[in-house]
């Protein structure tokens, strides 16, 4: 199954960003990439991606703040966001969900599980 709209990958670590982008492309997604929270918000507004994969520890504008801002923006508040972070404690998960993320995945990424989450949320997002 492919998704009509692109997936936005927000990640400041170049190595991880390239790796995940390539894997997502191999899985059949169109992939957009951003390096910080501000870029992510700009791309969400202009490209309206199907799903956002968001690292939380970002320069310029961190992931939590970017999520909150996205949720207050009528144009993009429907776009599902999956938090993608190396912060792996329960309180980190709660913090991400609190900021407005729809789901949460820890690094190192379990790729098949991540694909399931993207597909589920993309389907839900399409219905919103």
């Amino acid at each position: 199954m492919t998704v009509a709209r692109p997936v936005l990958l927000v990640e400041d670590n170049e190595l991880n960003r390239d790796m995940l982008a390539r894997r997502l492309k191999r899985a059949g997604f169109e992939v957009l990439t951003a390096c910080d929270g501000q870029q992510a918000l700009d791309l969400m507004t202009s490209e309206l991606p199907a799903v956002v994969l968001m690292d939380m520890s970002l320069p310029v504008l961190d992931g939590w703040t970017a999520c909150r801002m996205a949720r207050q923006d009528d144009r993009i508040k429907h776009i599902p966001i999956i938090a993608l972070t190396a912060h792996a404690l329960e309180k980190d998960r709660l913090k991400a969900m609190d900021a407005g993320c729809d789901d949460y995945a820890t690094k190192p990424v379990d790729f098949p599980e991540l694909l399931d989450k993207i597909k589920t949320l993309a389907a839900q997002g399409a219905q919103r």
């Binding site: 670590n13 170049e14 991880n16 790796m19 894997r23 520890s57 320069p59 792996a88 690094k107 190192p108």
Partner: protein, 514 residues
């Protein structure tokens, strides 16, 4: 005054009052007794006097009758009558002697006179009886003088006795009244004094105990600063209050100690928890690369497509790089653990510090490039050879430079080094001074104060934005101290930081070969 002394004093006072009461009571009893004896004596003496007077009168009448009879008749007194008459005279003499026994010293003179006159009278009468039958005896019993004199003396004695009895009775009456008054006054005085003493004792004890009670309640309710003020008791209760205040002090100190120990334990615990979370975060980032690239390459190999060997090799290098990062991180953690347990030693050797610094700058070039920082390096060629731990020197410099790169974006990082000659006063040896200056985010004074502590970063959110475990500077400081040097920090929030390291050059001399 102490409580015991007060109690003893009260008790003694009450006992003395009681003794005074008992004494006056006995004195009164004695006086009454004396009065009774005197009264009884005077009554007896009065009766006796009357009796003697009567007897003297009777005897005189009898003798006057007998004298008349002797002149007019020739009747003789028989032996029996004579004995009877002599017995009567002896009886009178005895009674007068008894009067003498009843008389006091003050009436003794009157009695003596009575005795003399009565002795003459009675002797005359006895002579009359004895010679009554003697026809030659010329009795002259009409002369009333001896009788009158004895009678007069008797009356005088009687009057004197009555006067003395009255006088004595008056004195005794007054004594009784006085002792009664003393008894009553003593009784009421002891009641009053006992009540007063009791009142003051109770009030004093009560006041002190109340203060103690208030203090106990205050301390009990958690007010450890409460102290019992105005301790004016010098005795047991005062001591108790002092001991109580002492106890409060010690309790408060102990509580403060416990509280600060708990606070620092909590702080250390929180720091360790945060450290663990950071370590977990830092371990996961390179692991993500390792696992991700490995899985991806695996998938690509599984595909039927032709593998791009160049790309494949570059991807494998990324796995290796991530693995090295992971290793460096684990080494940092182990190093710090070693330092903390005191097991970190020095491996001294001769080395060229400039060379090591150049190598470190080269290895950090990618990071500098990523954050668009310009590196300004002074010439290290003239630096002398050092005799110290080269690996630790490298790590200190690398940590400082990588920190400067990490917390600076689009700025300049200046590295300089120079030799400080031994001045003899402040330092005994030549030192190498290395300065790493950046134009990055800097730190507030409060952050500067704890930045060298293990597990601490300037802000809890720092690791989120900049990564790192908060171990680098802790390791730098510990290594500097281990090598006999120091590390200093000057920083302005928003303007940048300057770290200055001062390390002894060691025994190696001469300029290092380039």
């Amino acid at each position: 005054m102490s409580l015991r002394r007060r109690l003893t004093l009260s008790l003694v006072t009450i006992l003395i009052l009681y003794a005074v009461n008992v004494g006056t009571h006995f004195w009164g009893s004695y006086a009454r007794n004396e009065s009774m004896i005197a009264y009884r004596n005077s009554v007896t003496a009065a009766q006796l006097s009357t009796e003697v007077e009567q007897l003297l009168n009777d005897q005189r009448q009898q003798i006057l009758v007998l004298s008349t009879l002797r002149e007019t008749t020739e009747d003789q007194l028989d032996g029996e009558e004579l004995i009877q008459a002599e017995g009567q005279l002896e009886d009178i003499g005895n009674k007068i002697a008894m009067l003498g026994k009843l008389s006091h010293e003050v009436t003794q003179a009157h009695y003596q006179k009575l005795q003399q006159s009565s002795a003459i009278l009675l002797a005359g009468w006895l002579d009359f009886y004895r010679r009554y039958n003697d026809p030659d005896y010329k009795a002259d019993m009409d002369d009333p003088l001896p009788y009158l004199e004895a009678s007069q003396r008797l009356k005088e004695l009687e009057q004197r006795q009555a006067f003395i009895a009255v006088q004595r009775a008056n004195i005794i009456d007054r004594t009784i009244a006085l002792t009664d008054r003393i008894t009553v006054i003593g009784f009421f005085a002891s009641i009053l004094l006992t009540a007063t003493l009791g009142f003051f004792l109770v009030r004093y004890t009560n006041r002190s105990l109340k203060r103690l009670k208030t203090g106990t309640q205050q301390i009990g309710s958690g007010d450890l600063d409460y102290r019992i003020e105005n301790i004016d008791d010098s005795g047991e209760l005062g001591d108790l209050a002092e001991a109580f205040n002492d106890m409060s002090d010690k309790l408060r100190n102990a509580m403060e100690l416990v509280s600060s120990a708990r606070d620092s334990a909590d702080e250390a615990n929180a720091a360790k928890s945060m450290f663990l979370a950071n370590v977990s975060h830092e371990l996961r980032t390179p692991l993500n690369g390792i696992i991700g690239y490995s899985e991806m390459l695996h998938d690509e190999l599984a595909d039927d497509q032709q593998v791009d060997r160049g790309q494949f090799q570059r991807d494998l290098e990324k796995i290796t790089l991530s693995g090295r990062q992971l290793l460096a991180l684990i080494n940092d953690i182990l190093d710090l653990s070693k330092i903390e347990t005191g097991k970190m030693g020095l491996h001294k050797e001769d080395f060229n510090p400039g060379e090591i610094m150049h190598q470190a700058c080269d290895s950090l070039a990618p990071l500098l490039r990523d954050n668009a920082n310009e590196l300004v390096v002074t010439d290290f060629g003239e630096l002398p050879c050092m005799h110290s731990d080269a690996a630790k020197f490298r790590q200190i410099f690398t940590n400082l430079l990588s920190n400067a790169s990490k917390f600076t974006h689009g700025g300049a990082i200046t590295v300089s080094a120079r030799v400080l000659e031994a001045t003899g006063q402040q330092s005994q040896h030549d030192h190498l001074e290395i300065t790493v200056q950046d134009t990055g985010i800097g730190m507030t004074p409060a952050q500067q104060g704890r930045i060298f502590d293990a597990f601490v970063q300037a802000e809890a959110s720092t690791s989120a934005s900049y990564g790192g475990t908060g171990l680098g500077l802790a390791i730098c400081r510990d290594y500097c101290e281990l090598m006999g040097g120091t590390i200093r920090l000057k920083s302005n929030a928003g303007k940048g930081s300057t770290f200055t390291v001062l390390l002894p050059i060691g025994s190696a001399s001469g300029h290092a070969a380039a």
